[in-house]
């Protein structure tokens, strides 16, 4: 199975889930960076 391939039988589109996990990580890193600067 390749990243992002349309899944069979109503399964989620894995590429979108992978992107969601990576986007959440990016948001967390950005959030921490902002938090430190706000309260420095």
């Amino acid at each position: 199975m390749r990243v992002g391939e349309p899944a069979e039988g109503g399964e989620p589109r894995w590429g979108r889930l992978y992107a969601l996990v990576l986007a959440a990580l990016a948001l967390e890193i950005a959030g921490l960076w902002v938090l430190e600067r706000v309260f420095r």
């Binding site: 899944a7 399964e11 990576l22 990580l25 967390e28 921490l32 960076w33 430190e36 706000v38 309260f39």
Partner: protein, 559 residues
């Protein structure tokens, strides 16, 4: 601990074990003993994966780490979500297609039996030793703080874990872990709420966060490229990715959690759930440590959080300890004044920072006195900060629950380890030699192997007191063996021309290189994984070329 605490502790632990045993009843075949079951859903897989990684050391050490150094440790986990995506996309479909029980079975299908068994042996040695330490470390801390005898704590904790793991196998491990994670989440939320409620009246949560920020405790991202700083954004993203790929991709204690026997989609969702939740969860545990720090800016903290150790030092050096305590009280009063001035004028932060620096200097001096007075004793008290805070400030009942959280974490991580050690022994060593053994015999061997590994691990933990620093020892053991394991799997997945002979000898060379570097070199142990992996990935194609040079092109096609 009070009677109520004991009641909460015993009932919680018994309830968890009873729940897991009841949910895993009817384990009568090797398949059902080694795999959690076809009906297992993704959230159980996700919780099980998280519970396996979160050992008691996590809950004892991480808040203390945040108390001292702030949120920076969270960067170690930045590579984890990326590793979850890569494993979901690349390794998981291969494991599922081959219908393997252990990760090492893949190596026989891809290379040969000796490569599989050598890698499985590396796993058995490293996980067997590490799980012994992982049982002993919380037993040691709980003994020091609560006065429990360390040997009995170690064996009691080990015996309960061995009992339900041998009885219910992998299914019991997964089911029990969901209950353990529920207790852990509830305990952590209550600990956070309790820390907030301990702020004095007139001092808001927002002011506390601002104070932590002013004292540098909220720095969770360090973008510098310095190699001598242990936790940076880049070491977390790159180094952390290596560590998490090897741990989740090649360590059977994790592979067994997500290869539960159900559909590929459930395993994938479980791993991605871990990728989504792990960083926020670690951040939350670290933030509890920051809250403990804030509380101790406003109420006097102990001079040294390992009280039992300080009392031993006091017995031999009473005047020096008394002098340090007097200075500590004076410095706290000065810092409290500086904080009041900062509250009135938030621009005036330098006096608070100076006062905090003097307190830190005094803590360092106390550690030096401990090291001088009792050679061999641990001069650091970070692992005791959270438990001391709980015991000194939490109400009855809640103390019992928090101790249950720590013991649950110890049991969940170790049950997964024992189950995987038993599975690897049977699947990678017993079955290949006894292919005609009946299912009942194989199941009996699996149960015996799991129990025997439990006894080996707990016995090794008993001797762990000979080691200088337990937590460092756990990390070093992992680093010594993970590199070659990750290397041989990467060769299997990506270097399609490399055959069994080259892969085997490259793995042996990688393991020798790491052990030699550890024995004779000066390389920091965090680099062992990279070194071992690099030797295997670099050497395997080279050996393949020497032993089986690529065949020359047919004459007619040459140009």
């Amino acid at each position: 601990m009070s009677t109520l605490d004991w009641l909460v502790l015993v009932l919680t632990l018994l309830g968890i074990v009873a729940f897991g045993t009841w949910r895993s009843r009817g384990v009568h075949t090797t398949e059902s003993f080694l795999r959690a079951g076809k009906d297992i859903r993704w959230w159980t897989i996700g919780l099980s994966v998280i519970a396996t990684q979160a050992s008691a050391i996590t809950f004892l050490s991480v808040p203390g780490q945040a108390y001292q150094d702030g949120l920076g440790f969270v960067q170690f986990y930045f590579g984890l979500p990326i590793a979850m995506v890569l494993l979901s996309a690349i390794a998981l479909p291969v494991y599922h297609r081959l219908r393997v029980y252990t990760a090492y079975e893949y190596l026989e299908q891809r290379f040969d039996r000796r490569t599989r068994q050598f890698t499985a042996l590396i796993f058995l040695v490293s996980r067997g030793l590490a799980s012994g330490l992982a049982i002993y470390a919380p037993a040691l801390v709980l003994s020091a703080v609560l006065g429990w005898p360390v040997l009995w704590t170690n064996w009691a904790l080990g015996a309960v874990t061995i009992a339900y793991t041998v009885a219910g196998g992998s299914r019991a491990v997964s089911r029990t872990q969901t209950a353990q994670m529920a207790v852990i989440f509830v305990g952590l939320l209550l600990a956070f709420g309790m820390a907030v409620s301990l702020l004095p009246s007139g001092f808001s949560f927002g002011q506390g966060v601002a104070l932590a920020g002013a004292l540098g405790k909220l720095q969770g991202v360090e973008p510098s490229l310095r190699l001598d700083t242990r936790y940076t954004l880049w070491s977390g993203l790159l180094g952390g990715l290596f560590v998490q790929l090897s741990y989740f991709g090649t360590d059977q204690s994790q592979v067994q959690r997500y290869l539960a026997g159900g559909p590929l989609a459930e395993s994938r969702r479980g791993l991605l759930m871990n990728g989504l939740l792990k960083v926020p969860m670690q951040l939350f545990i670290l933030f509890i440590g920051v809250m403990v720090f804030i509380v101790y800016q406003l109420t006097p903290p102990p001079l040294f959080f390992n009280r039992a150790e300080l009392e031993l030092v006091r017995a031999s050096h009473p005047a020096e300890v008394a002098a340090l305590e007097t200075t500590h009280a004076r410095l706290f009063a000065e810092k409290r004044q500086a904080i009041d001035a900062w509250l009135a004028n938030p621009g005036e932060v330098s006096a608070v920072r100076d006062a905090e620096a003097r307190v830190q200097e005094l803590r360092k001096e106390t550690g030096e006195l401990v090291a001088r007075a009792r050679p061999g004793a641990d001069p650091k008290d970070a692992d005791f900060i959270f438990l001391r805070f709980v015991l000194d400030h939490f109400p009855r009942g809640l103390i019992g629950l928090l101790v249950a959280v720590i013991l649950s974490a110890a049991m969940s991580a170790n049950s997964a380890a024992l189950s995987s050690l038993g599975a690897t022994t049977v699947v990678d060593f017993y079955r290949p030699r006894h292919p005609d053994a009946s299912d009942a015999t194989t199941l009996a061997v699996a149960r015996w192997a799991t129990g025997a590994w439990g006894v080996v691990a707990v016995s090794f933990g008993t001797f762990a007191s000979l080691l200088d620093n337990l937590i460092q020892a756990v990390n070093v053991i992992g680093s010594l063996f993970y590199g070659p394991m990750l290397g041989v799997f990467l060769v299997g997945f990506f270097l399609v021309r490399v055959g069994g002979r080259a892969a085997f000898w490259a793995t042996v060379a990688g393991q020798i290189a790491v052990l030699a570097a550890a024995r004779f070199g000066t390389l920091g142990f965090l680099w062992y994984t990279v070194l071992g992996c690099a030797v295997v990935v670099g050497l395997a194609p080279l050996l393949q070329r020497i032993w089986s040079p690529p065949s020359p092109l047919p004459t007619g096609e040459s140009t």
